[in-house]
Point group: none
């Protein structure tokens, strides 16, 4: 079932859809209690939603595959994450709200330290302060390459992003970071024949950077990795026929939404701010992607009680979303982040879908185990959007 | 999700994995009791495993499709059985522990009886004793073909295996067995243009065999069918990054494991022997494929109480496997063999997966019906290995 088919079936409507992605929502039982974060938290509003929702589990990429945030969200937006792949350089650029364009090539950069012979002595340049990173990035911005626009953007400490913009660039490039000290940075080479010209540009950039940074020890050299070209993705508003808005306090998620053509709404730093933004724009859009970050942060930190608390804070904001009376409200996540694993995991993620035509099933709690018995079953992430569209009465019949 | 992707995500580890395939595990309710073999047997250890495992059902090929032993096991090894097909001639050769090489063409042979006009009067040559088969196979070994090595191996009674080894052979050949008496054997013809040369060799083999067997009535002719070329399969140890060993008392299962590049360990004739072999080699491998045959034998014989007893014997050996403390222990089967059907069937097969990151679900018995409610859901067989790898913490994240 591809996006062309969905686009051919999409019909106009007046219904409102809210897709709430609680980042890293799924968890895993704590060894002491045998209960997961969702099973431990008091979630009166989410449980009440689950009771009148169709529930199930979302599998984002495939059984056993742990999704990154990119594939996790592309799946929720309806894009098969195995078909539409987005690499690390692109995500890093999205993560700083850089306005990437189709065809741009992005890479992750590190300032590093090299000795008099050019051998790396510190791959992170002693983690220079971000203020120093900003100064040195300014130097690198002097570099000009033939036929290519160059963007250099500071990130945090020793990290920066390099973006090249021009016709016919390739992201199929090897990395300069040897992932070891005592050896010089590697030259970039093309991983496919169409990458030769881009590789030559990048090697010129590295040479000039080396000269500009000669007196800047410990940050007297750079390493580049994760080269990637921004893929041209089908545009979400056209595929689904929805005026679509993204509300996310964190830049990477805004970037992912912009990548598929959603409008990115200005919002505050907290989830209650996001809900206010949703209320303010309710009439102007058909579809809202709402992102909640705290669940993932606590999961990645291995902070079980912190994740429980983050879930309870989210639960407290559910009535504010319900008060806006979306026709279809979906709550799920982009991947699991169990505190016991201190990171993303492969476990399927609970999903609930409410709407006038989503029949309640027997699920009465919004937990990993309860949702196993839900009427949605275990659903590939990119199959969720067609189901959402159907529930919003925005898909017509297939075939006569 | 293909094997290239899995290979790109596989990471090294120190975890140990045991995949126990109880052949023909799944069954069907007995008409008198309404309970299946698994529901009838007393399985305290398997039920205890199920209580702390993630459970589900395995579908090996597709809904309604009854798997042979080849596709059944290839699926469990992570190979989509619809994509990686292994034919009957190859399986017959594997079944006698013949060391097939990539590119070999194998066929199943029968000695048969023909009359003075060359018409078949008995397609099985009166089921001559195996000792006679061995003598006649010795005669056939005299045949030499241009540019091709010829192997002829006795099987049982009137059956033998023919293997051709050489460059550019094709397995796309028609059969010589007309599946009827009163008519002569058919000449072989190529089913695709690249098979012409191989067909000519096989026809030469049949002509010479006819001469060599002229005085050997009732086994005075041969029939060949199930021509197949050994496919070059991606190697399991490289795909999954696992030092992999197979422990199987029956040759066909050793052969299937060898086909994908597992080491085949010498073992005894019984399942307790296999468990001893596992214990002896525990440290040398990361992954063990352990095969239990008795369940299938009883099922194929239509012996319901025999299958119940085979399950109870297997259950008694579970503690010996658990004592070796594999990080991930999976119990499932390659297909169902319900006693009431006296053969393989299409019914999904129970699976349980234990490990520190496989949360227990509500399933408290290892039966067909209980596993329906398991958190693994109904899983395509070739999706099991990625899940096993994830649970062994041997797969990294997909995408950033």
């Amino acid at each position: 079932m591809d996006l062309d088919l969905i686009q051919s079936l999409a019909i106009p409507g007046t219904t409102k859809i809210v897709l709430l992605s609680a980042d890293g929502l799924g968890g895993f039982p704590h060894p002491d209690t045998g209960r997961s974060e969702l099973e431990t938290a008091r979630l009166p509003h989410l449980d009440a939603l689950a009771r009148r929702a169709a529930c199930g589990l979302i599998r984002h990429v495939g059984p056993g595959i742990t999704p990154g945030s990119g594939p996790g969200h592309l799946g929720l937006f309806g894009y098969d994450p195995l078909h539409y792949q987005v690499g690390r350089g692109v995500l890093e650029a999205l993560g700083i709200d850089f306005d990437l364009r189709a065809g741009d090539v992005a890479a992750r950069g590190n300032f590093c330290t090299v000795d008099a012979e050019g051998r790396i002595t510190d791959r992170r340049a002693g983690r220079i302060p971000t203020s120093r990173c900003v100064e040195l990035v300014d130097r690198l911005r002097r570099i000009r390459l033939p036929g290519v626009l160059v963007f250099v953007e500071p990130v945090k400490e020793h990290r920066f992003v390099l973006v090249l913009r021009g016709a016919g660039l390739s992201g199929r490039l090897s990395e300069t970071d040897p992932q070891a000290t005592g050896t010089p940075p590697l030259p970039v080479h093309a991983l496919s024949p169409d990458g030769e010209a881009t590789a030559a540009r990048v090697n010129q950039f590295v040479r000039e950077a080396s000269g500009l940074l000669a007196d800047a020890a410990p940050a007297n050299m750079i390493l580049l990795r994760g080269f990637d070209r921004l893929p041209a993705l089908p545009r979400f508003p056209e595929v689904f026929g929805l005026r679509a808005a993204a509300i996310a306090a964190y830049p990477m998620y805004r970037g992912l939404a912009r990548l598929v053509g959603m409008d990115v709404l200005k919002t505050g730093a907290t989830f209650p701010d996001e809900v206010k933004t949703l209320a303010a724009h309710r009439d102007a859009y058909d579809f809202f992607f709402l992102h909640y970050k705290d669940t993932d942060k606590a999961g990645e930190d291995g902070d079980f009680p912190g994740k429980v608390a983050a879930l309870e804070r989210l639960d407290a904001d559910i009535p504010g979303i319900e008060a806006l009376r979306p026709d279809v409200l979906v709550v799920t996540g982009d991947h699991a982040s169990p505190a016991v694993l201190k990171g993303h995991s492969w476990h399927p993620v609970p999903v609930l879908l409410t709407g006038p035509y989503a029949a309640a099933d027997a699920v009465d709690r919004f937990t990993e185990r309860a949702c196993v018995a839900g009427s949605l079953g275990t659903l590939a992430s990119h199959h969720l959007m067609p189901l959402v569209m159907a529930n919003a009465l925005r898909l017509t019949k297939f075939g006569a």
